[in-house]
């Protein structure tokens, strides 16, 4: 009787055990083991992720708390009270200048060449100190 390939495959035996069953068992074993390894790794990662998420949540709470505390400490009313207690106040308009006005506030000092002939005493070589801000900037309001 002629047997088809499937029948031949099922008829292939060793010690009255079909090879197809042996191969199937080995495959199933390999699959079970790989699933176990994958699940174990996933469980480990899940625990790590859970831990990280808890830490993130805790840190987020701390950030919120610190942000609220910073907002409380930096509120304008409190800062102004502290500044006034320290003798500070808003800067007057005539004491304010932008970058473009800086050159006008302080004259550009031209470097003076040292004389070739006998050097003058060191004290005379020091240029006079000019106030950084012109007198006009000190006009009281």
């Amino acid at each position: 009787m002629t047997r088809n390939p499937v029948q031949r495959l099922f008829g292939w035996k060793i010690r009255s055990v079909r090879w197809i069953e042996v191969i199937g068992l080995v495959c199933v074993g390999a699959m079970v083991f790989s699933v176990y390894v994958a699940k174990a790794a996933a469980a480990r990662e899940s625990v790590a992720i859970g831990q990280l998420e808890r830490e993130i949540a805790e840190n987020r709470q701390r950030v919120r708390l610190l942000r609220a505390e910073a907002a409380r400490l930096e509120q304008p009313g409190r800062l102004e009270g502290l500044s006034r207690a320290a003798g500070l106040g808003p800067v007057g308009m005539n004491r304010q200048a932008d970058e473009s006005a800086l050159a006008g506030l302080k004259p550009v000092s031209v470097p003076v060449k040292p004389p070739a002939a006998p050097a003058a005493p060191v004290g005379d070589a020091v240029p006079p100190l000019v106030p950084a801000v012109a007198a006009s900037a000190e006009v009281p309001r």
Binding site: R60, A68, E69, R72, E74, Q75, P76, G77, P90, Q96
Partner: protein, 583 residues
């Protein structure tokens, strides 16, 4: 009798629709097909025996079962692989956004925190686990002095676990935790916290423990704040905390010094209608709203009504200019008191001469504006007051925005009173909105606490020419009129003072007054220039002058001086065009 041959499975013919057909064919031909297929498998043993091949029966059954199982497993494997590898990240089982909150953090326009949710803790005590109840009571009271002793004692002597105190801050929780008492436990609870305490309390508003807004922006934007919270986003208001701080500090300093009953300040962007600062004095601690007095919790900007006095002359003059009733050079007789029936209208700063319209404004002549109002007619005046929003609640998101107390009639006498700010009580927010419309080129837009404004194009109430003329008049009033103390150096501030007595027991009491100043800066430049409207009102100052030019204008000047840098307003000398206006 007939014998069915089960060796051959023949799919049945399509069901014939007749009265006696079986249930399967009635329900579905496929169900009938499946039934017959199962029946075919069940009879496999009989067929094999009939064919003298009994061993094949078992094989066929096993093979079929294997096929079914293999199919199911393949299906499951494909499904699992698809779920594991191809599902978009975050879509499966991630309904809640990471960091989602019941209510979003409220910030100012620059991201500075105004309100947030902080986890607090409820303190619970289970008396069955407390070793020494007296010691526990003493120690808990020492750590939390606010906890009532009677309540704590009742719980400690009770027989079940009860809450002792809700809303412990993390530091309070730590203090109790450090006592290492048995039977003490904590349960987290989300609480709304206002880190600025009093600053911006009225405009920020509060939310209840259920996470619903009950006042201010918290109520006005309740749904949007909750939606933003669910998406872990912040919700930004139009408020600039720096401007708000300056406004509150200057207002509180002046109100305290003057012994005032209350004070109001608003700063608005005239181009977009955004509110940059809104202060009502006295204020309350938003974290203790329950203990705030009615006087402190009242947002005077939105809910208090005032007869504001001469600041209304701006509207009267604008209406006269817009209707063509007068121009800046029109001469108006203010040489003697103006009589309407038996009523005599005179000037506070009497000049006793014929004045131009500009001088009427600069000298704040009641006679002059009364003559304009009477000539204007009731319909015209009502139309302009209506279009400037003086007869309706100010359009803004805040629910507290109150309706004005409108005049009962529009007779000559009433119109004369209205022309200099009597006979009508409006809210400071209405005054701000109307001033914004007059100085921004003539467009009335809703004010907004939303960053970026409402985007509303607004409606035109006066022409750009009238708007420019009003800005020039307001600037001239600061340079040469009653608003001199508002002149912040280089900021081209313009404005109009207002001083009014309050109606007490049917009579205007000169000892109870309201001083106000409505200002804009800068007044020069094209229509598209960014301008800012500042309105300040001091309610019943008890010391010093009660005039708006003496008490409110200096506040505006200092506020403008300090916030100009934040708002990017460049300081420069007045443009020469104003010399022309001065004639």
């Amino acid at each position: 009798m007939s014998v069915e041959d089960h060796r051959v499975w023949r799919p049945s013919a399509p069901p014939v629709r007749s009265g006696g057909r079986p249930l399967t064919s009635t329900v579905s031909p496929w169900l009938r097909w499946a039934t017959e297929a199962v029946w075919f498998v069940e009879h496999a043993f009989e067929r094999a025996r009939a064919d003298a091949r009994p061993e094949e029966d078992t094989r066929v059954r096993i093979f079929l079962i294997q096929i079914v199982f293999a199919g199911v497993f393949v299906f499951l494997a494909i499904g699992a692989a698809h779920a594991a590898l191809l599902t978009a990240r975050g879509s499966a089982g991630a309904a809640a956004v990471s960091g989602a909150l019941q209510r979003a953090d409220l910030t100012d326009r620059n991201g500075q925190l105004l309100a947030t949710n902080i986890t607090h803790y409820g303190l619970y005590v289970d008396p069955a686990e407390v070793w020494d109840r007296e010691a526990a009571l003493t120690q808990i009271r020492r750590a939390l002095p606010d906890v009532p002793e009677s309540r704590l004692r009742r719980i400690l002597n009770g027989d079940r676990r009860l809450i002792v105190a809700p809303g412990l801050t993390p530091s309070e929780r730590q203090a109790v935790h450090a006592l290492a008492l048995g039977g003490v436990s904590f349960e987290p609870e989300d609480r709304r916290v206002y880190p600025l305490n009093r600053s911006g309390a009225h405009v920020i508003g509060t939310a209840d423990t259920g996470g619903q807004g009950v006042s201010g922006a918290a109520l006005a934007f309740n749904d949007e704040i909750r939606t933003a919270g669910a998406q872990a986003r912040d919700f930004a208001l139009s408020i600039d905390l720096r401007v708000q701080g300056v406004l509150e500090n200057e207002l509180a300093a002046t109100a305290t010094e003057a012994g005032a009953k209350g004070a109001v300040g608003v700063v608005a962007d005239a181009r977009t209608g955004e509110i940059l600062g809104m202060a009502s004095w006295p204020a309350y601690d938003a974290n203790r709203r329950g203990s705030a007095s009615d006087d402190a919790s009242l947002n005077r900007v939105t809910s208090a009504h005032y007869e504001m006095g001469s600041v209304f002359k701006t509207f009267t003059v604008a209406a006269a200019l817009e209707t063509g009733l007068a121009d800046l050079d029109t001469m108006i007789d203010a040489s003697e008191a103006y009589m309407i029936g038996n009523r005599r209208i005179s000037d506070f700063h009497a000049t006793n001469k014929i004045l131009s319209l500009e001088d009427v404004y600069l000298h704040s002549s009641n006679i002059g504006t009364s003559r304009l109002a009477v000539e204007m007619g009731a319909d015209t005046m009502r139309r302009y007051f209506q279009s400037l929003g003086l007869l309706d609640a100010a359009p803004i998101e805040l629910r507290e925005s109150a309706r004005p107390r409108r005049p009962r009639d529009w007779s000559d006498s009433t119109r004369a009173s209205l022309s200099f700010g009597y006979g009508i009580m409006i809210t400071p927010l209405q005054m701000t909105a109307a001033t914004v419309a007059l100085v921004n080129g003539g467009l009335y837009r809703p004010l907004s606490l939303r960053r970026g404004g409402t985007g509303d194009q607004g409606r035109r109430v006066v022409s750009t020419g009238t708007s420019a003329a009003m800005r020039q008049l307001m600037r001239a009033n600061v340079l040469r009129g009653s608003g001199g103390q508002a002149d912040a150096a280089g900021l081209r501030v313009g404005g109009k003072t207002g001083s009014a007595n309050k109606l007490v027991d049917g009579r205007y009491d000169p000892s109870r007054g309201v001083g106000s100043f409505a200002a804009v800066f800068p007044t020069d430049g094209p229509e598209t220039t960014r301008r800012y409207v500042v309105f300040v009102l001091i309610d019943e100052p008890s010391q010093g002058s009660r005039l708006g030019g003496a008490i409110a204008a200096p506040v505006v000047g200092r506020v403008a001086d300090r916030i100009a840098g934040f708002l990017g307003v460049t300081r420069r000398a007045d443009p020469p065009i104003l010399a022309g206006v001065a004639r």
